[in-house]
Symmetry: C2
Subunit: 221 residues, 2 copies
């Protein structure tokens, strides 16, 4: 994700200096985690003085928030780029390819940390909520336009693929040699089935568990 | 999960004292995270002196490891209990009910933290690997025995449901009012379809993306 790190480092403007600090912070956080990495570490990684870092970010939390916000903006930019480059279906499949099939371990580790941090930090939680809402809005709108069957429910389809997307990130972060290809194939197949109105588990009126012999759980402990 | 906290607190044996400290640590970690919570906090929560805590755990990392190990043991105990209580299908559906449909936010937050920690801490990573391997072993064996179609591939079926399981945990931790029911229904439907040999995305020879118009990603950036 830190594609432009080299050029950014050479730039002098405030925005690019900010970007440079975020790149350095990202490297530190992926290596050591939010909590172990210090502003000192980030300054060292950025080859700047700590005092200079504090001109751009008031605290480490501010840096974390800046990174989460940048992740969100990059997602939005990627969507815009994909939509310019091709049709809606191409944009959808392109997003899945870039976000999941090609996700680097560093990006996945950072995402896992941001989620973990969001469970306790209201600022990060608000940012994550905003990202989630934006993603949901875009997906539901895109799925609605791509649906090929009248009984495709775009909101339910997104709700169905969303945990799978998150799980791919977790596995990518957790397992150094994880190959996301099978899970991404599954994601595409679910999208395909959902768009064609063939996703049985999506019907909320008639939940899938009805079809299964359900054990009586009542008495146990 | 801390069902026996009250009785454990009253007990005097080393094992139960250890359990009591782990219960206190779990409460602290869920509230503040591994990194913010101190041994002092854990001691306060356990109503013990810090020196006494250190008789049972050499360091905070040791406590984290103890918690991860306890999570693993509880999973194994739950499986054993389910297998005693009913047939294999009942055990499978019971595990899914308890682990996913009924998961508390605290348990999910702790799981997310353990995963996040595993990306950097080799001790925690080894424990997570062991849990993952045990879960995989049990599921693959159970799915193999429950398969109703010759072309059900238990290992591929487990690989397919595994990221969905992880994503349910993430959403449960991340979204305070998350209802796992639809995702759990989907999990059951996938299991059902997979056991009956009807899960298109599971065929690795003929990946699902072949069915989809795939955008050319090559040139971009």
């Amino acid at each position: 994700m830190s594609v432009a790190a080299g050029t950014v480092a050479e730039a002098k403007g405030g925005t690019t200096r900010r970007e440079h600090i975020l790149d350095a912070a990202e490297a530190c956080f992926v290596r050591s985690g939010f909590h172990r990495a210090t502003m000192q570490d980030i300054a060292r990684e950025a080859a700047m003085s700590p005092a200079n870092i504090y001109r751009y970010f008031a605290s480490k939390e501010d840096v974390v928030l800046g990174l989460a916000e940048r992740e969100r903006e990059r997602g939005a930019a990627l969507v815009a780029e994909m939509e310019r480059a091709g049709d809606r279906r191409g944009a959808l499949m392109g997003i899945i390819e870039r976000y999941f099939a090609q996700v680097t371990r560093g990006t996945a580790v950072l995402r896992l940390d941001i989620w973990s941090e969001a469970t306790r930090n209201p600022g990060i939680a608000a940012m994550v909520d905003r990202s989630e809402e934006e993603a949901r809005g875009w997906f539901v709108q895109t799925l609605a336009r791509l649906a090929t069957a009248p009984d495709c429910d775009p909101a339910a389809l997104y709700a169905a693929i969303n945990p799978l997307m998150k799980g791919i990130m977790v596995n990518r972060a957790l397992l150094p040699d994880y190959d996301p290809a099978p899970a991404v194939a599954q994601l595409r197949a679910q999208l395909e089935a959902g768009l064609a109105g063939r996703l049985p588990a999506l019907s909320r009126d008639e939940p899938a568990e009805a079809a299964i012999s359900h054990p009586a759980m009542g008495g146990a402990r």
